[in-house]
């Protein structure tokens, strides 16, 4: 019974870590990449370490693991927040795509009406473009 619970926790943690890594690789902008890096990693690591705590039982080792979980829950969102603030101060623009240029793919439903409604928006495509 305990092994089933540990296996479920490990599977859930591995799922969250994989999804977070895919999000970091695939998302189009820096600020959107920060979302899987801040949330999925914290939750996945905490689930895997919780599985290790249940495997170990009540001992000194599990207290150390609990300290690691608490520290990760405090430190990882703080580091992500510091990264976001540093990037915002340095002038990294958020990702927008509204107007469809020739031959470029557009994810939002944008046609000439949308382009007329928002004429000041600049580019369409990947967010890393200048």
């Amino acid at each position: 019974m305990i092994e089933i619970i540990i296996a479920l926790l490990f599977i859930a943690g591995s799922f969250f870590l994989t999804v977070g890594a895919l999000g970091v690789v695939r998302f189009p902008d820096f600020y959107t990449r920060m979302h899987p890096a801040g949330k999925c990693d914290t939750l996945g690591q905490s689930l895997i370490l919780l599985g290790l705590i249940i495997y170990e039982g009540a001992s000194f080792v599990s207290i150390k693991l609990l300290f690691i979980i608490i520290f990760i829950f405090i430190a990882n969102p703080t580091a992500t927040h510091a990264l976001a603030k540093a990037a915002y101060v340095a002038g990294v623009k958020p990702w927008k795509e509204f107007r469809q240029e020739a031959g470029e793919k557009c994810h939002l439903p944008c046609d000439s009406k949308t382009a007329r409604l928002a004429p000041t928006l600049r580019y369409c495509g990947r967010g890393d473009k200048k």
Partner: protein, 85 residues
């Protein structure tokens, strides 16, 4: 066996994030990817301690978590202000 499978998954996801650390268009993407890899390494160290039956690896994991956090903040301060004074 279960620990080894989870450790292999963590190594695989670290290689996925390493792509973003190499090909990131800005320095902040690279800093984010390095932070993510470091926090995955903490769990990997704990799992290695359980695989080989040595609980002393947990101390290394705890120290590595603290070093990873401070390294990210110091790196950002170095980028932002051009120095660490």
């Amino acid at each position: 066996m279960m620990f080894l499978a989870v450790a292999l998954v963590i190594v695989f996801t670290s290689f996925l994030v390493l792509y973003r650390a190499i090909a990131g268009p800005r320095i902040y993407d690279r800093a984010l990817a390095v932070n993510v890899i470091g926090t995955k390494t903490v769990v990997l160290l704990a799992l290695i301690g359980f695989i080989y039956g040595r609980p002393h690896f947990l101390d290394i994991a705890l120290v590595y978590a603290i070093i990873n956090f401070i390294a990210t903040l110091a790196f950002l301060k170095y980028i932002e202000k051009g120095g660490l004074d």
